[in-house]
Assembly symmetry: C2
Homo-oligomer: 542 residues x 2
């Protein structure tokens, strides 16, 4: 593998930045949206806080739901409550889609790959699909609340975790730093520079007189500048050389020295920081206790009886009076046709593209619009939680620019326990494609070697067993999530959202919360409301 | 109560800033400290990570320990392992000192106050003493680990929580804002101002040419500035008008508009932010599952048999061959003398000052050196977790400048549960002194009225029952913690740390981690090592 030319890959923001830019292309403003939502009988809150409150009944009508992931199960759960007969077709022997957790005995076989059986100890697990729930994903939290899925905090921000950049320019290359060192010093120096510039009068034209002193006060406070000379000389929050403690020694402790401003700038390490996280990365984050698949299991408990497992979708036909879905029983090989009044297809577009359908050429072309992200993850079970015991790092992410690693994420559960399972890499795009070509053993070795540089003497020594996934090589997923170019969002996406004849699509790919469970759930809420509207008006007309 | 003249009281930093300043007065640098610590046979790590590894035995020797708080119990636990006979004198019928948790049935009677019996529902509690453990308090975490006290994350940083400032100047007075709005906008505008100043060449003299573009790049990235014109126009992380979601509407959502820069500056709301937290406020923070007193109980389980409960210390005499502590049994009124080879006194100075001792005039004068902080807290049990359900605030602190309130802290446990108990105020100094003059009912009413302004329609409606404490009115504490002026740190503190004759002092007051459990523990570690050294050399001489 070659050295990437970019500084640390900002894994927090790449995906959502694209999304933010895409907004510029969206038609209309809030007035437009409000009008549309009113037209659907949905108010603002209901689109994200709770399922739409639908009047009427679905009694006597059948909806064929393709895929028992979170979108499919959401629709089955809500529509069956309305009286609909829901037939859910699922190729796998279990429900949940990408909402999976690997623990002892979990099996995964990638396309063309080895059969992997998870060898973790009891109690250890890795969420190799979705792994965190931001506070603003009200829809996901609606179901954890409704279903009584116990939650705990997920530490998505830990400034005490390290940043280690092997390819940085200048003096900080290959230096392991606490993130709070970088943060304190960057802001300190920046605040010093601006405060002095203000005081010198050099930029008086840019600030009105009344605000000038208020701004200097703000900068002094924020950056821990000396009130006297506006200089930044370090601050205790960047860590001590000797921590404060008892008595006279260590007593107040010994302050640490700030890094050099020029060194920091050259290293570009400051790029891991933003004023605030982007929307989907905002804290507080939560996770189900014991593994994300608790959400899948909670849904499955309620809709499992509607699911035909081990059943692959082979064809889809829209008829004037309903839909016909050709399916194949993967255990017996038997083929049959499942009929219904309407179809809600939640298959990833990457999978749906391979199904024999009667969609129009326009719709079929639109199906090609989204790229599917190559994504690799690996869980590494460690025999000792050295990151807590030796380094005082309790959860959060260690950032690195080692190709394909991006971050090492420490577990947010079982604090001070004996073992711990960390996320050894979270890899995207070309790097993920490369990584996925390695054998399972090679992937683990690659991850361990990268971690050993950051936790020398401990990472390799404590490594016990790994579980890895390359989502683009997982049958029935063929990618981590849909990625929309600006052009595709503008052209293909609306075509797909509108659906065709008696089929509507749902899933994270039919949302602007791509790759998130909330996207799947909210998309299901929206499309099931439309199906209900369509079938209700049809009923009224009949 | 009158309106305070200050902006939002920065409760994060007032105490620790004083401590940081005090460092300037401390003698010597790290060389000095290292030498001292080596002289004690302690290396750097051991002063905070684990108890000192002491050689030899305490067999046949008795240490009288005054107070069964965390300092006293730490010493009893570690010294008894060395073979010492430890006699712990505790005035209360239970151990733990300030490490207390109120739950159903807990009783508290302040000096001159009403008898308070906690009426919380089962499972509800408030940590009205210590309530959080920062990751860098290795000593506290040493014992939670050793004793197997289950921990969970404590959310000390939640940018989604509100800030509400009733006394702000300008347009933002009395406006409830999410903290991330303030944070994003302040940094955005500040970054824009500096980026434009750099680009204009106005401050070329301050930045070397090679760094200039790197700095602009950093500012653009951090502040979400437009690359094109370096302007800040808001960012998604400051919240949306309509959140992004499924389909075409809400689809990408509707961005929100930034607050005005001048309004923000005038309001001084930006003062809630620093580049990084100060040392003791740094995340990650943890808490014992079910209440902080789990730590006290874990110690008590191991040293309870050494504790004489309900026994008040009335006098302390240092003899040439040992100590004599006069005590009174609070149940029978019987007085007696407890003898030992050495005394470790962990009573708060505010309490020790009232004991009849034979300390020298110099030592007695030093005992007067620390002020004891008036501190009030109140737990409010709410029938519904409206802050989670309605506002999406999962833990963290709502900041307000309402006199004596400072913050409303939301619980970091039992997520999405039925009830929740929040901290309704955390009050210091003069405000706390005023608040403590109210009746229990009036305190609750004051807290509820303040919260109702921030969560209108919900706070009062859901309030069920309260439990409050004014630590300066609690017998055997007489204050929240020791507060050292710079002068007292320089003059009185070293005298007290050195102890006198056969008595040494320990507790948070004998540390630079004032008010924290880690201060008590590390102080005990340090002083017990000295006692061991003194008694060992004495033994060798005999």
């Amino acid at each position: 593998m070659t050295t990437p030319s970019s500084p640390i890959l900002d894994v927090h923001t790449n995906a959502t930045r694209r999304h933010f830019l895409a907004k510029a292309l969206a038609v209309g403003g809030s007035g437009f949206l409000l009008a549309n939502m009113k037209a659907w009988g949905m108010d603002l809150a209901s689109t994200r806080d709770a399922p739409p409150a639908l009047a009427g009944s679905g009694k006597g009508k059948t909806v064929v739901i393709l895929g028992a992931g979170l979108a499919g199960m959401t629709a089955a759960y809500e529509m069956s409550k309305l009286g609909y007969t829901c037939k859910v077709i699922e190729a796998r022997p279990f429900a949940g889609g990408r909402c999976q957790t690997a623990r002892a005995g979990s099996v995964l076989e990638e396309l063309g790959g080895e059969k992997q059986v998870c060898g973790f100890e009891r109690g250890q697990y890795i969420n190799f699909g979705p792994w965190r729930i931001p506070f603003n994903h009200r829809s996901t939290l609606h179901y954890t609340s409704s279903f009584g899925v116990p939650l705990e905090l997920f530490n998505n921000d830990n400034d005490a975790a390290y940043v280690y950049n092997d390819n940085a320019a200048g003096a900080l290359r290959g230096r392991r730093l606490r993130q709070f060192e970088v943060k304190a010093d960057m802001r300190g120096y920046v605040d010093e520079l601006l405060a002095k510039s203000l005081q010198s009068g050099a930029i008086d034209s840019q600030v009105n007189g009344a605000d000038k002193q208020l701004l200097i006060d703000y900068l002094v406070n924020e950056g821990y500048l000396s009130k006297k000379d506006l200089r930044y000389r370090g601050t205790e929050g960047r860590g001590f050389k000797v921590n404060p403690g008892a008595g006279m020694a260590p007593g107040p402790g010994v302050p640490s020295d700030p890094l050099g401003f020029s060194d920091l700038l050259q290293s570009k390490l400051g790029h891991i920081y933003h004023s605030v996280h982007e929307f989907t990365q905002q804290s507080t984050m939560l996770q189900p206790v014991g593994g994300m698949d608790a959400i899948a299991r909670a849904f499955e408990k309620r809709v499992g009886r509607m699911i035909r497992y081990n059943t692959e979708v082979t064809s889809l036909r829209n008829r004037s009076d309903g839909v016909e879905v050709g399916v194949k029983d993967l255990k017996t090989g038997a083929v049959s046709v499942v009929k219904g009044d309407f179809c809600l297809c939640t298959l990833p577009l990457s999978v749906l593209r391979q199904v024999d359908t009667d969609f129009s050429p326009t719709f079929k072309a639109a199906l090609q619009g989204a790229a599917y992200a190559p994504v690799c993850k690996i869980g590494l079970q460690m025999g000792r939680r050295f990151w807590e015991e030796d380094d005082g790092i309790y959860g959060g992410h260690v950032f690195t620019d080692t190709k394909g690693i991006n971050l090492i994420s420490l577990p947010s559960s079982n604090w001070q326990g004996k073992r711990g399972t960390l996320l050894g890499f979270y890899s995207f795009g070309g790097d993920a494609a490369e990584l996925s070509g390695l054998t399972l053993k090679e992937r683990a070795e690659y991850a361990v070697a990268a971690g050993e540089k950051i936790f020398p003497g401990q990472y390799r020594k404590n490594f016990e067993t790994a579980f890895s996934v390359a989502w683009h090589r997982v049958k029935y997923n063929l990618g981590g999530w849909a990625e929309w170019s600006e052009e595709a969002r503008e052209k293909a996406y609306p075509v797909l959202v509108a659906g065709e004849q008696r089929t509507l699509l749902a899933g994270e790919h039919m949302s602007y919360l791509g790759g998130w469970q909330a996207g799947a759930i909210e998309s299901a809420w929206q499309q099931m409301a439309l199906i209900h509207q369509r079938l209700s008006s049809q009923g009224a007309a009949a």
